[in-house]
Symmetry: D2
Subunit: 265 residues, 4 copies
C-alpha cells in the first residue's frame, strides 16, 4: 500500500480577492514559502511533497501519522494568514492513493466552504510497502535549450515534454509525474511499470525532446528517490535512456548520441 496526502489551503481563492485582490507577488511569496515549509516537514520524515497547484500540494507520506500531519497543520495556522486541511489516502498505486486522499477531503466539504477549517481526514497506512520513483531529465538540456534558445522557448519546450510524460504516465500506468524545476520530472510509479523505454520514445516522438530516466525503489520516497538519482547518474554516464537500480538495465534502446557530457538539471 502507498500512502499519499493532499494538502489543501482552506477557502484560499476567496481570500486572495477579499476585500479586494491582493498583490500577486505577495501571493507568490506566500505560496512558495508554504510549499517550502511543507516540503521541509515532509522531507524531514523521508517523504516527497510536490507543489502541484500550490494551494493543492501532493505528498507521498509513508510513515507520517495523524500526529505528524496535525503538527504541520498547527504550524501553518500559527504562522500564516490561511489554514491547511489534509486528506490522507491509500491505494495499491500512486493514482489510487491520491484519488482516495482527494475523496476523503472532498467529503469533509468544499475547498471554498468557509466552515471547513483545518480538517484532517483519512487513515495513515500501518504497514506501507515499497515505493518506486522514476527521475527523468532532458538529454543535454543545457546545450540544446538553456544555452541556445530563448529562456521562454526553453521553458515551453521542457514544459511540453513534462506534460506529455505526465499525461501518459497517468493514463496508461497510474503513475504521477511532477515537474520539479530545471529539466527534471519526478514520478511516483507503480512497481509493475516496466515500459520506461517506450515512454521516453513516445515523448521524444510527440515533442521532439529526448529524455533519460533513472528508476529506484525503497521504503520511503526519499530512499526510492535517491536510488533513482543514482540510477539517473549512471544513465548519464553510460549514455543510456533507462537505468533501473539493481543494475537491471532496461533500455539502452535510444542512442544518446549527443549526451557526451554530464547531462544535468
Amino acid at each position: 500500500m502507498i500512502q499519499a496526502t493532499l494538502f489543501q489551503l482552506d477557502n484560499y481563492g476567496p481570500w486572495t480577492t477579499t476585500p479586494s485582490p491582493r498583490r500577486e507577488m505577495d501571493l507568490q511569496v506566500l505560496q512558495a514559502e508554504l510549499y517550502a515549509d511543507v516540503a521541509s516537514f515532509v522531507g524531514d520524515r523521508q517523504g516527497y511533497a510536490f507543489y502541484a497547484r500550490g494551494d493543492n500540494i501532493l505528498a507521498f507520506t509513508n510513515g507520517l501519522d495523524d500526529e505528524d500531519h496535525g503538527h504541520l497543520q498547527a504550524s501553518v495556522r500559527n504562522r500564516y494568514p490561511v489554514t491547511l486541511s489534509a486528506g490522507i489516502g491509500s491505494g495499491q498505486t500512486p493514482r489510487a492513493a491520491v484519488a482516495d486522499a482527494s475523496e476523503r477531503l472532498q467529503q469533509a466539504g468544499s475547498a471554498q466552504d468557509s466552515d471547513r477549517i483545518e480538517v484532517l481526514r483519512g487513515d495513515p497506512v500501518a504497514d506501507p510497502g515499497d515505493l518506486t520513483v522514476a527521475h527523468f531529465d532532458v538529454v543535454d538540456a543545457t546545450g540544446r535549450y538553456t544555452d541556445s534558445e530563448g529562456a521562454f522557448g526553453s521553458h515551453l519546450a521542457i514544459s511540453r515534454a513534462a506534460a506529455a510524460l505526465s499525461e501518459r504516465l497517468y493514463r496508461e500506468y497510474d503513475g504521477l509525474g511532477f515537474f520539479v524545476g530545471g529539466d527534471n520530472v519526478i514520478a511516483v510509479c507503480p512497481p509493475t511499470v516496466e515500459e520506461y523505454g517506450t515512454l521516453v520514445d513516445d515523448v521524444a516522438e510527440a515533442t521532439g525532446v529526448a529524455l533519460q530516466v533513472g528508476v529506484g525503489s525503497g521504503e520511503t520516497a526519499a530512499s526510492a528517490g535517491m536510488d533513482a538519482k543514482h540510477a539517473l547518474e549512471e544513465a548519464r554516464e553510460q549514455s543510456t535512456a533507462v537505468v533501473r537500480s539493481g543494475n537491471q538495465e532496461t533500455g539502452a534502446v535510444q542512442a544518446m548520441e549527443t549526451a557526451d557530457g554530464p547531462v544535468t538539471r
Copy 2:
C-alpha cells in the same frame, strides 16, 4: 519598450549532483525560497517575477536598474550556496525582451560554465512604456475540478489548459503566459493583442477547460497586473469571458452558464 530580466543560477545542475546527488526536498526548498526572495525583491519594485524553471526565473523589471539587480545578486551570494547571474533585455514585445535578455546572458557563457559567476549583462531601459497584463483563471474551477475530481486529475486538466494557452499566446501573439498556482495563468502581452475571446474559445475547444480573463495595463507589471485582477473580478461578476479595464469589454461571447458564484483561484 518592455524590460525583462532572465535570472539564472550559475552551474546549478552540476552542483545538485556534486559530489553525489543532493536530497530532492532540500533542492525544492532551496528553489522555492530563492524564488520567494526574487519575487519579493522584484515585487517590492513593482515588477513581476515568474518561477518558470526555478533555476531560470523570468521577470518583468521596468524601473529596476543595474544597481538593483546587483544588490539582489549580492544578497543571493551572501545567503545561498549558489550564485545568480542576470541578463537584462528589452524589446517591443515581452517575447522580444526575454529573447534579448537570454542572448545577453548566453553571450557571457554557458549556464554550466564554472567560470561564469554572478555576471550581469544588458542595459536597463531608460524610459519603458506601458505593460499589458492578462490574468486568466478557470471558470468554476472549484466546482468542476477541485471538489469533484481527484487532485492529480484536476492538476493535469488545469496544467493542460495553461499549457495550451501559453503555447498559443507565445506563437501567435508574442505574449508570455505563466501558471501561477491555483487555476491562474498570468500573461504579459503586447498592447496590440485583442483576440482574448478567440484565445479563450480555442483553449476551451482544445482542452475542454473554460477560461475567463481580465486585461489591464499600467506603467509597471504590478499596476497592470492589479488592473487585470480588477477586470477579472468584473468578468466573474458579469459571467463574461473577457473584460478589459477601462470598460472596453470585448467578449461576453461564451455563455458562463455555470459561473453562478464567485469564481476564484
Copy 3:
C-alpha cells in the same frame, strides 16, 4: 539526564569578512533564517532551540538522535553558504548538559578552524528524564513600558531584567534562561529549583522590573514548556508571581497590584 545540543556555524566569523565585510542586513537575514530552520526542525521533534549568539544556537533535544542531527546538518549544507557543526551533551542539570556539549565540540577543533567542517560529536541520551521549564514575563509590560516609554528605553529595561534573571539562575541554580522576544524569558531549570519567588523578588529589587513565572514539567521541552505557559496564564489571572503546574503554588508573595488585566507578551 538532560540532553542538550550546541549548534555552531563553522568558521563563520572569517566568512563574514572574506574577501571583504559582507552587508550586515544580509548577515542578519541569514542568521534569522538559519535560526528559524533550526527552531522549526527541533520544535517539530518536541525540543526547544534558542538563538543565543546566532552563530551558536543552544537547544534541548531530548529524543533527537544522531540521524536527526545529521539530517539537519545536511539540510543546512544544501541550502546555506555555511556549514553547521553540533555537539550533543548530557548532564543532570541544563548547565552540565550544555557544558558537556560545548566540550565535545571544542575537542573537535576551534570554531575558526577551517578544517572543522560539519562535525557531529557526543552521544544522544538513551533514556532522558523529565525537563522543567520556567516561563517568565514582565507584569503589565504593555502598560508600564511599551505604551509609556520610548521603544529603546523599554527594550533596555526588559533586557536588564532578563540579564539579571539569567545571571542569577545560572550562577545559583544551574538553570539556563533565554530572552525570547516581547517581555519573555524561558528557562530550562533543574527540577530541584524551588526558589522562583526569591528569584522574582531579587530581580525586582535589582532592576525595578516585576516578573511573574509559570513552571511546568514534561518529557520534552515542548510539553514542559506548554505546561509552563498554562501555569503562567494562571499566574496572570490570579495576579500571583509564581505558579507551578500541578497547582503547587509557590509564591503569591509579591502583590501584583497593577496586574489588573491579562498580562501578556
Copy 4:
C-alpha cells in the same frame, strides 16, 4: 536629522495566548521570519533594522518614505497571521528619533488595543543628514570564550558586555546599541561622540570583556555601517581599540596584547 522607524506587531501578546498558548517554536519561527523580512526590506533600501524585542523592531530608515512603509505593512498583512504598525520619527540624535517614533505610535493607541490595526504615523524626513555607525566586537572572542568556555557562559559574558555598552551609550551619549549575534554590537550614534576609547575601557573594567570598535559615517545606515566594518577590520589588523574611518584614529589607548590573530565575529 536622523529618521527612525518603530515597527510594532498589533496586539501580538494576546494573540500568542488566544484561544490558548501557541507553541513556542512556532512563535520563534514567526518572529525570526518577520524580522528577516523587515531586515531584508529595510536593508534593500540601505537602512538597518534591529530585532530588539522581536515584536518591536527598531530601524534606521533614512530615505524610506510613507509608500515604502505601507508596502511593507501590506506585505506582512498578506503573508502573516498578524499585522504591523509603524511610527516614523526624527531627531538630532538616534535616541531622539526613536523616542519621537515611539510617541507617534503610542498616540495611535496601545500595542494591545484590538482596534489599532496597521497604522502608520509620523513623517519621513525630507533631507536627512549623515549617520554614524559604530561596530564593536570582542577582542579574540573565539580564543577567550567560544573555544574555551561553555557555550552558555560565553553567551552570558558577551551579553553582559553588550548590555553594559548599550546602557552607557544610551545614558551618556544618546547612542543606540544592539547585539547582532556572534560577539558584535552595532550602535547608531550621534556624530559628536568621540569617547569610544573611554567606552571600551569602561566596559572592560565593568565586565572584564575587551572590546574594539570601528566607527564610520555615511548618508545611509548601510554605507555608514560598511564604513564602520572596514574601520573595525583596520582596528583588528593594527591591534588598536578604536579606529574611525578617514584615518582619524582615536585610541590605540588600550594595549591589545592578545589580539595577535584576526579577531572576528
